[in-house]
Amino acid sequence: MTIADDPATTLPGYKWVGTRPIRPDGFDKVTGRARFGADLTLAGMLEGAVLRSPHAHARIVSIDTTKALALPGVKAIVTGADFPEPAGNPTDQDMCRNAMAREKVLYEGHVVAAVAATSKRIARKALDAIEVQYEVLPHVMTVDEAMAPGAVLLHDGMITKGMDPAPTEPSNVASRVVYQRGELDKGFADADVIVERTFTTKPVHQGYIEPHAAVADTTPDGRSTVWCSSQGHFAMRAYSAKVLGWDPSRLKVIPAEIGGGFGGKTTIYLEPLAVRLSQKAGRPVRMVMDRDEVFMATGPASASKVTIKMGANKAGEITAAELWMAYEAGAYPGSAIGAGSMTALAPYNIPHFIIEGFDVVVNKPRVYSYRAPGAPQSAFAVESVVDELAHKLGIDPIDFRLQNAVEEGMQAPYGPKYQKIGFKETLEAIKHHPHYSAPLGPNQGRGVAAGFWFNAGMNSSAVVHINEDGNATVVTGSPDIGGSRASMALMAAEELGIDYNRVRPVVADTEQVGFNDVTGGSRVTLATGAAVVDACRKVIADLRARAAKTWDVPVEQVEWVDGQAQHVDGSQPPLSLAAIAKGWARTGGPISAAATLNARGVGAGFSTQLVDVEVDPETGHTSVVRYTTAQDAGRAIHPSYVEGQLQGGVVQGIGWALNEEYIYNADGKMDNPSFLDYRIPVASDLPMIDAVIVEVPNPGHPYGVRGVGEVGIVPPLAAVANAVAAATHRRFTDLPLSPPRVLDGILNGTEES
């Protein structure tokens, strides 16, 4: 019996959706055959290397590449002079300057030049021979420093957006956002208990195991083919084209397999450099980052500072909340302060609040997306204070959340009313899980936290071909970073009524399928999945028409059932998909259909998490001893890969909570750019994460799908901190909760009841 035939794992009404077959890319990945970004080798290929700024902030006075170019084996060098003046909107221009510095370097690791040579060793030697004169400038490394009066400015003309009236002087604050409801004074007057604290987090990296890598082959006709590992090769094409000043269609981008991205591979770093080097050298060029480059020069999540004041009455109702939030953007504007502000109070129905957020530039790498960008930082503050309020009121923390939880029809703090959501269902799932009532051991504490994420739709394309043997090929342009090939194949199998193993999902390059936005925003199963479903339904309509032609009956008399055409009155023997495919030449030619969409029907996601920790009172070391997460998936197309997403988000959140941080020295240089010194959790650090899939189907998707990739990382920061507070009777407000910090709190902090 296959898994799909097992009634215990088969959803009512579905044969394939909700089952757990082996992923189509699984064999290649576990046997080492899968080709990742750095695996491609072309004849005559050169190796590239990047010269990066050693300074956190400096003016580039001059760059002399003469000696480097004279080295035997060096074939090309590019600097800012090899790229056009940045154009487009301000964000595009910033991206161009981040890819290759022009007048100034704004962080340690900022690209100054790149070399292509016959070996990596020669390329690195050439980097040493490039002479760069810098005028070193003072740097600002935190939001406090950057927002202080008289702070050194990164961008001379930057006027804060969102201020009324607009400032007349530039600053390091790129923008301000405000969300507001009700009358704050009244809300706090109604409160019986008020908690006010300030929380901070440090920059953390997505920690994908595969470094960025790209190969470019630029040909004399002015076109280039790029192989790279990314979350979206169409985005790589578009962004690289902006940096190069090209039309996107001059670039063909072929997706390699991707060894982790988590949001960090939704932008370009090496790709345009490789294209230009290849163009100058007339040979293919491969570029691969080292781990220290990944840390220093790609985009981590923002460090944050959040001051929060929240009040509740004795009945357990949250009456008011006031948040002041500042997120580090890194060298260029664009932190996720907007999303952080919008998500901060999203789980709760609070009558009076104000959220004020600031996007602040500092001399660090430009931050980039990381799973539910912006949400974990603000949730750390909110969920810590919610926990403390519940404790002070003597109310169970889940009951407190249930009492204040949002539900369908309530107005979200960012404006619109919620559609169908499953927040309360996740709270109930945790409340009734055996974990919640299990006894705790000595020095152990239990924490709960919740989180919200919007999820996304965006643009997708899909093509479904029926092969002459009746099997199907499903072509999309969405890189598979979490099992989406399997999900696409499952939905296609369900639609067409054929065996999952007869569907071959393919991730095609930018010239073989229509545009697809990045694999990000937890959107692929929803949006690209909807495109696949649309294409399958077009194919089925065609199959019915061909059966009608074969039988010489009106198409209305033909149904598609269990993978075959059936006449409504049973007067004709059924025609299988394979039979129709075999005779396609007589019924109209090959069978294929395409679908494109800008997806609608996005369903928001909620997660509630429960963790037990044990804190060593002598060392301050925190061990996670048990973890349970409950998340509304809408519908789990492939439950194993949904569970993997839930578990992965939790693990990364635990790292954020306990270990991970960029450590900078007084010169603005990162002291820990390696996995030895930047400690992400590994399997031996953690217990099995118990993933509970809650299914409140999203009415906006044919199978009820919500995104599942992101919201899982929102609650762990606070869940772990709440558990540590329970274990130590001390409230910690600064992450990470590394042993020295926790030990200091135990020895010198104030014990709370």
Binding site: G263, Y414, P416, V602
Partner: protein
């Protein structure tokens, strides 16, 4: 008629109005109407803004139809990870 809600960050353009009723069958017509009433509003909403119609958040919504009686909010366009 549709009811349009303005976040706190937009209310400096609306004279403090938190919401208004407007006759508009599409987002494009709505933006034109808002800009006529509140000069500068269309520019403010031209980039990096999503529209929520009856709770559904839509990027690139310029030609989106708005049903009669709908609630419309303007939001910052979001990036996912």
């Amino acid at each position: 008629m549709v009811r349009v809600f303005f976040s706190a960050g937009l209310r400096n353009l609306t004279g403090g109005a938190a919401n208004i009723e407007v006759e508009a069958g599409t987002v494009k017509r709505l933006l034109a109407e808002l800009d006529a009433r509140y000069p500068g509003m269309a520019e403010r909403l031209s980039e990096g803004t999503a529209v929520a119609i009856n709770g559904e958040i839509i990027n690139d919504a310029l030609y989106e139809p708005i049903p009669d009686g709908a609630e419309v909010h303007f939001l910052e366009a979001l990036k996912g990870g």
